[in-house]
């Protein structure tokens, strides 16, 4: 799978981490740090029992938003190699909806990119979560109003990603 993808297949943190580490190791100072994030489907949301989820994406735009996020990350953290896969379709409890992996020479950048990317995905990726509840009923989750050019949102993601020391 390419480093940026929207897919119906189960996600693998291990594979994506290995891919970014291999690319990072081939350049410059080499790869000294790999960070990853996986978002998993929880059995409860805001007090309601969830049986499963469905994720829907506007796939071509989602991929372009991933590319934008990668450009933003490269601008701020040159040399970091990013992998980002989002799953769509039906997901069961405990399955990963998103995996992010970042490889860099040193740990600070790898941590910061991983966190930055999940914040930006939640802000601008055209992907929607549909929750199905135990005992019936379902709801679309409404998150952020997507605006890829909102500088304040981008700054919030950067602030969440960057350590205070």
């Amino acid at each position: 799978m390419p480093l940026l993808a929207v897919t119906r297949e189960p996600l693998s943190v291990e594979k994506l981490s290995a891919d970014v580490a291999a690319l990072s190791g081939a350049e410059g100072e080499g790869c000294g740090a790999v960070t990853s994030f996986a978002g998993l489907v929880r059995a409860h949301h805001q007090g309601r029992a969830v049986t499963h989820l469905e994720y829907e994406a506007y796939e071509p735009l989602a991929l372009k938003s991933f590319e934008q996020i990668r450009r933003e990350a490269k601008d701020q953290w040159p040399g970091v190699v990013l992998g980002l896969h989002h799953r769509i379709g039906r997901l069961e409890i405990g399955e990963a909806s998103i995996v992010i992996a970042a490889a860099a020479a040193h740990r600070a950048a790898a941590f910061e990119v991983c966190r930055y990317v999940i914040e930006r995905v939640k802000q601008i990726a055209p992907i929607w979560k549909h929750e199905y509840f135990s005992g019936g009923g379902d709801a679309w989750v409404e998150g952020a109003v997507a605006d890829p050019n909102d500088a304040a949102a981008r700054e919030l993601a950067r602030a969440r990603a960057c350590a205070s020391a």
């Binding site: 829907e56 506007y58 998103i98």
Partner: protein, 81 residues
């Protein structure tokens, strides 16, 4: 001219269709496409303040002009991750 409109998530559920064809005058903006869509599907009106838009799978603005055959997408607040 005719443009194709794509609707997602709640918007699609409310409208009852994910793909809608809209007839509109040449030189129309995305906002005018939205207004034509709401005229046909009044149940979409409450989304006006929270909807994002894209033209041909690229994020756009409500004042962006559209051309015949364009794919105009309206996106409710996103919740990926």
């Amino acid at each position: 001219m005719r443009v194709g409109v794509k609707l997602f998530a709640q918007l699609r559920d409310k409208a009852g269709a994910g793909d809608v064809a809209i007839e509109i005058g040449a030189g129309a903006t995305v906002r005018q496409v939205w207004q034509a869509l709401v005229a046909a599907h009044p149940e979409l009106a409450p989304f006006e303040t929270s909807v994002s838009c894209a033209v041909n799978a690229t994020y756009a603005r409500m004042h962006t002009h559209v051309n015949a055959g364009d794919e105009v997408a309206f996106l409710p607040p996103v919740s990926g991750g």
